[in-house]
């Protein structure tokens, strides 16, 4: 069982935000879904055998790319050809 406090914490970790009004419903639905997921406990084994899989690599070569103005076109806040982001510190 997860508590409202747990769900609040997960919402913060995931940066999705949650209002106090939503917390009860989210927690109830979360528990219902997690209870369903718990049936996986009965699956034997801890790790799937990885086979027939290989990595696809290529040389890191410079190729033509989109012009700066097109790349920036969708950015809501810009400054001197850069994208403005919220402060980190």
């Amino acid at each position: 069982m997860v508590s409202e406090k747990d769900v609040q914490h997960i919402a913060e970790l995931a940066d999705v935000g949650i209002s106090s009004g939503e917390l009860g419903t989210f927690t109830h639905q979360f528990n219902e879904i997690l209870e369903y997921f718990d049936q996986l406990d009965a699956v034997k084994g801890d790790a799937a055998a990885i086979k027939d899989l290989y990595n696809v690599m290529r040389e890191d070569e410079i190729e033509p790319s989109l012009p700066q103005e097109e790349v920036l076109r969708n950015a809501p806040a810009q400054e001197d050809g850069f994208i403005r982001a919220p402060r980190v510190m």
């Binding site: 997960i10 919402a11 999705v16 989210f26 879904i33 996986l40 801890d46 809501p76 982001a85 980190v88």
Partner: protein, 433 residues
């Protein structure tokens, strides 16, 4: 772009389109002048692409998805972008931020999802063909609910470059159409190698449907006719399988015991992948502006709470939880074991049979607002998710009606035998026309 244009001004009473291109241009080629609709999670250069989410409202991609580039080269006219469950998360198209799409067969019902707009656009005759995407049934479910045909290709056969990712290891772009021939033609255009997708394989599709199925061996899994499957739907599908027998196929019973855990494995996997993929939507590079004066967690939470719908936030949170410290082994690792068990079951069955047949969906289309509880909505995907977990091709072709609504016959095949599932669907379609 050079070339001529067509006029495309549909009377879209079903809310199938989020964007309509009224004068799409086109060149010559296999699909010269054919209006093709594209699901709104596939990037189209110069045409707004929202994934039916407020967080991408106004986003205009600076490049085409590989499949869209191929469509344009084939002469197709991009007619518009179709409605969907936000980011592909849903089974009804009700999770769109821009209102639900209605089922053209009964406007009191959902068209299925998440590619509900594409299916409704075809079923209502607005377009002949459309692209959808299928992560856990999102092409086959709306095809079944709206009475059209849709193929989830083998994983790796169609490039995902430019598809706005939800769950990379499960999803494929695929063709939807009114007939099996149209689905096959669209598959010819979109399949093939793309170096921009590291999971792309060099397996082009050059096939033309062939209705001969004499001697074909069809596996009938007991799980596809068991508890939770509407007996009327099961009856329609059994009649359809009888038709395939009349055409010279033989059927054998089989069992997929791993299906017991398939749905849980699917939802753990897709929510985990979503929690990582959707981290990129933060109002910095695209979407509504984050308040750059605020600390970043606060700014991101504001943008994402306002921009994402409830189901999207729920899945991001579920995935975040399932991957968090102390729970990874319990959820994600176990889901991957369960997924491998599904693959092994299919391998074992396909050593003996050529294709597997059953219903696409356990019921007919739900009424609007009928599935308000998330878990009961998830359970509706039980018959479609196995093909995504295993990466095998699966098609849904209309097979009669139950309670006046269309039913879909699902044919699943071995890896890279998309041609064979197309042929079986074609044989059935030609027999009942």
């Amino acid at each position: 772009m050079s070339g001529t244009s067509i006029r495309f001004e549909p009377d879209d009473t079903f809310n199938a389109f989020l964007t309509v291109c009224k004068r799409p241009t086109h060149t010559g080629g296999k699909l010269a002048g054919v209006a093709v609709a594209v699901k709104d999670n596939i990037s189209t250069r110069g045409i707004e692409t929202t994934c039916a989410s407020r967080i991408l409202k106004g986003y205009v991609p600076p490049y085409d998805a590989h499949v869209v580039e191929l469509l344009r080269k084939s002469g197709a006219a991009i007619a518009g972008k179709t409605n969907m469950d936000e980011f592909g998360m849903g089974t009804t198209t009700e999770n769109s931020a821009f209102g639900p799409t209605l089922n053209p067969c009964d406007t009191g019902r959902v068209p299925g999802g998440s590619s509900g707009g594409s299916a409704a656009a075809i079923a209502s005759g607005m377009v002949r063909m459309a692209l959808g995407t299928d992560t856990g049934g999102s092409i086959r479910c709306p095809a079944a609910f709206c009475g059209i045909t849709g193929l989830k290709p083998s994983y790796g056969r169609v490039s995902r470059y430019g598809l706005i990712a939800y769950a990379n290891s499960l999803e494929q772009v695929g063709p939807m159409g009114r007939t099996v021939s149209d689905v096959s033609t669209l598959m010819q255009v979109i399949a093939g190698y793309d170096r921009h997708d590291s999971t792309s394989l060099n397996k082009p599709y050059t096939h033309t449907p062939h209705a001969e199925i004499k001697g074909l061996k069809i596996g009938i899994p007991e799980e596809y006719f068991g508890e939770g499957v509407d007996p009327k739907v099961a009856a329609s599908v059994k009649i359809a399988i009888g038709r395939l027998e009349e055409l010279g196929a033989t059927t054998v019973p089989c069992s997929i015991p791993s299906m017991e855990y398939a749905l849980a494995a699917y939802y753990v996997t897709c929510t985990c992948e979503a929690s990582s993929n959707l981290a990129r939507f933060d109002g910095v590079r695209y979407g509504p502006a984050a308040d750059t004066k605020k600390p970043w967690h606060e700014a991101y939470q504001e943008v994402r709470r306002a921009g994402f719908g409830t189901e999207v936030r729920r899945r991001i949170m579920l995935g975040t939880f399932a991957l968090s410290s102390g729970y990874y082994g319990k959820y994600y690792a176990k889901a991957q074991v369960a997924r491998e068990n599904v693959r092994k079951d299919f391998q074992r069955i396909f050593a003996d049979v050529d294709v597997i047949a059953g219903p696409t969906m356990p019921t007919i289309a739900f009424r609007l607002c009928e599935k308000s509880d998330p878990l009961s909505m998830y359970l509706a995907d039980i018959l479609t998710v196995p093909a995504n977990l295993a990466g095998i091709p699966a098609i849904s072709v209309p097979c009669g009606k139950a309670d006046g609504m269309p039913v879909g016959l699902q044919i699943m095949g071995r890896h890279f035998e998309d041609e064979r599932v197309i042929d079986v669907a074609y044989a059935y379609e030609q027999a009942v026309i």
